[in-house]
Amino acid sequence: MEYNKGNATAGQLAAQGLIISLTDAAKQYGWDTKLAGSLATTAKYSDKGLMGSGEWYGVPNYGEFVGVYFNKDMFTAAGLSIPTTLDDFVKVMDAFKAKGVTPLATAGAEYPLGQLWYELVLSQADRSFVDSYELFKSDVDFAGSVMTGGTQMLKDWISKGYIANNVGALKAEDMGVSFIQGKAPMMVSGSWWFGRLVTDMKASWGMFTFPGNKLHPGSSGNLWVVPTKSKNADLAKEFIDITLSADVQDVLAQKGGLPVASSATATDPKVAELTKSFSSILAQDGLAFYPDWPVPGYYDVIVAQLQGLANGNKDVKATLDGLGSAYAAGKKDLLKG
């Protein structure tokens, strides 16, 4: 069975005893060597359902990451090139802003604004921050420089008009449509939009990783898990191994599915570009997971807090207080078990 990865999802099932441990199978089939670093983080869960350590409960066979999709036609018309540093990125946005175009499409009622926020927080962060925030290795200071820096930047981007201030009620679909129709030259979102853009977008487009960031929102894809009540657990394990075989992985590489264990290069240049971005992130172990993962129900908290930041009802401090108190309460609940 396929299931969502993370503390709040697969971790939850593991803690509830609904799925079985795959540690032995991982050793037997060699999954533990195929999937390393931040890919394996999402596969292992402790008895409290916290990811990163403990038994193997799920096995991913593809990955995903968040980057910047851009409209090449609009870039060419404006005489702009792909930014490689955060400063360049801001210059590109200023250039669009000067022409009266809102540079970034996003959506505040669903995940996009939260991922953009996390992207900006990560621009200030290192791996140890991710370990604290996502894996509870140490306490996160919500009033510290990483959180304040990232959140302040989002606030500035909103007040400078890089992001519209009326995105609060928009859904991810609204963001995608606005980008596809060429109303906004860029959107910061995940590789899951790739296929949709290939079929729907008329203008020529491309994708680059968030400029300047070493860490990126992203992770292994959803997990194969085996339910406790499964009648054919062994067969399930064999099937999981097939999805990690070279054949299957190479097919994924050709189709833009972001394989976790393939060295094949796609014939389609756009797919090759996407896979290359992903491999470069994997090479520096740059997957930083998603902002809503740490505690159950955090997704709604992030959405609500950032809506307040976007429409100007909350300042940076109030937003971080809101995020921090829910995080602390959720963490306490989780560790209590």
């Binding site: 005893g17 505040g108 959405v303 976007a310």
Partner: protein, 307 residues
């Protein structure tokens, strides 16, 4: 005397088998889930096969200090306004106008067509209506704001994204959804009213307003009670419109009890806590229903006594 009692008991017993299916259905569909829900609400539990930790009334005392819980019930009042008060008032007037004025001047056909149009939103699945209203209210590309900006409005309102506007917007959609129901019930009720009453009043020189007050309102009182009761219950447990329009946002401003319960059950996996929220909701609904039913019986009794 003894013989008649035995006789009576026998008849009563004879009816029992006919009550059984209903009793069984009640036990399976309502009684058992309700009891299970109350039972769950006494535990801290993540659901599934996880361990259930006895928490006593802890979930309920936690509720007392939970702001989101209180906000959700405060929002219920707004829901009652949007789903009961406004639609019933407008429905009364609309039904009377349709039946009494339009029906008579332009024929019952016209009135029937209009009645059907008012009822249309009720037939539409909530999910579809929600998607349509999302299009209309979208801050950047929605119909309303596109029209407003073409009229020269620089910063058109963010209907669902502004915490102070989101609730009124949701209420407006609910009024639109709800209005057909009282109109249809009240129009049916009006057909029951003896036309002689109106004729006599008209001969006595009563105008439309007076006839509406003196004849229409008292005559369709029973239906008004039914509409109030069913709509109030629906308003207290409203879920789908909030789910499709705002997901309780922005910033929790449109949270309602059933959505809050759902959030706890599924998003946060706090099954016991979610169960406590729905138990409280059930109790509130039963209390409100009892109050309305008491009013209804009292009013009926007064009528029978000719007061």
């Amino acid at each position: 005397m003894a013989a008649t009692t035995r006789h009576r008991r026998a008849t009563w017993v004879g009816y029992l088998p006919y009550l059984l299916p209903g009793l069984i259905a009640f036990a399976v569909v309502i009684g058992f889930p309700l009891a299970t829900n109350v039972y769950y609400s006494l535990f801290r539990w993540k659901g599934g096969l996880a361990k259930m930790n006895w928490y006593g009334l802890g979930n309920y005392t936690d509720l007392l200090s939970d702001d989101a819980f209180w906000v959700s019930f405060r929002n219920s009042i707004a829901m009652v306004v949007a789903m009961v008060v406004v639609p019933t008032l407008i429905g009364l007037v609309l039904a009377a106008v349709l039946f009494d004025y339009l029906g008579r001047r332009f024929g019952t056909r016209v009135a029937a067509v209009l009645r059907a149009t008012y009822y249309l939103p009720q037939i539409l699945p909530v999910a579809v209506a929600g998607v349509v209203w999302n299009w209309i209210l979208n801050a950047q590309t929605g119909a309303i704001n596109v029209i407003l900006s073409s009229l020269g409005v620089v910063n058109p309102p963010d209907w669902l994204g502004n915490p102070s506007l989101a609730m009124p917007s949701v209420m407006l959609v609910l009024i639109w959804v709800q209005i057909g129901y009282p109109v249809v019930i009240f129009m049916a009720a009006l057909q029951r009213v003896d036309p002689d009453l109106y004729e006599a009043a008209e001969l006595d020189g009563a105008d439309w307003i007076n006839r509406f007050r003196a004849i229409t309102l008292p005559q369709i009182k029973p239906e008004t009670f039914v509409v109030t009761l069913t709509c109030t219950v629906a308003a207290l447990k409203v879920f789908a419109p909030v789910y499709v329009l705002t997901r309780g946002g922005p910033e929790g401003s449109t949270l309602v009890p059933s959505y809050y319960s759902f959030l706890n059950f599924f998003d946060k996996s706090k099954v016991g806590y979610g169960a406590a929220v729905s138990t409280v909701l059930t109790v509130v609904i039963i209390l409100v229903a009892v109050v309305i039913l008491t009013f209804q019986t009292r009013s009926e009794r007064r009528e029978r006594e000719g007061r």
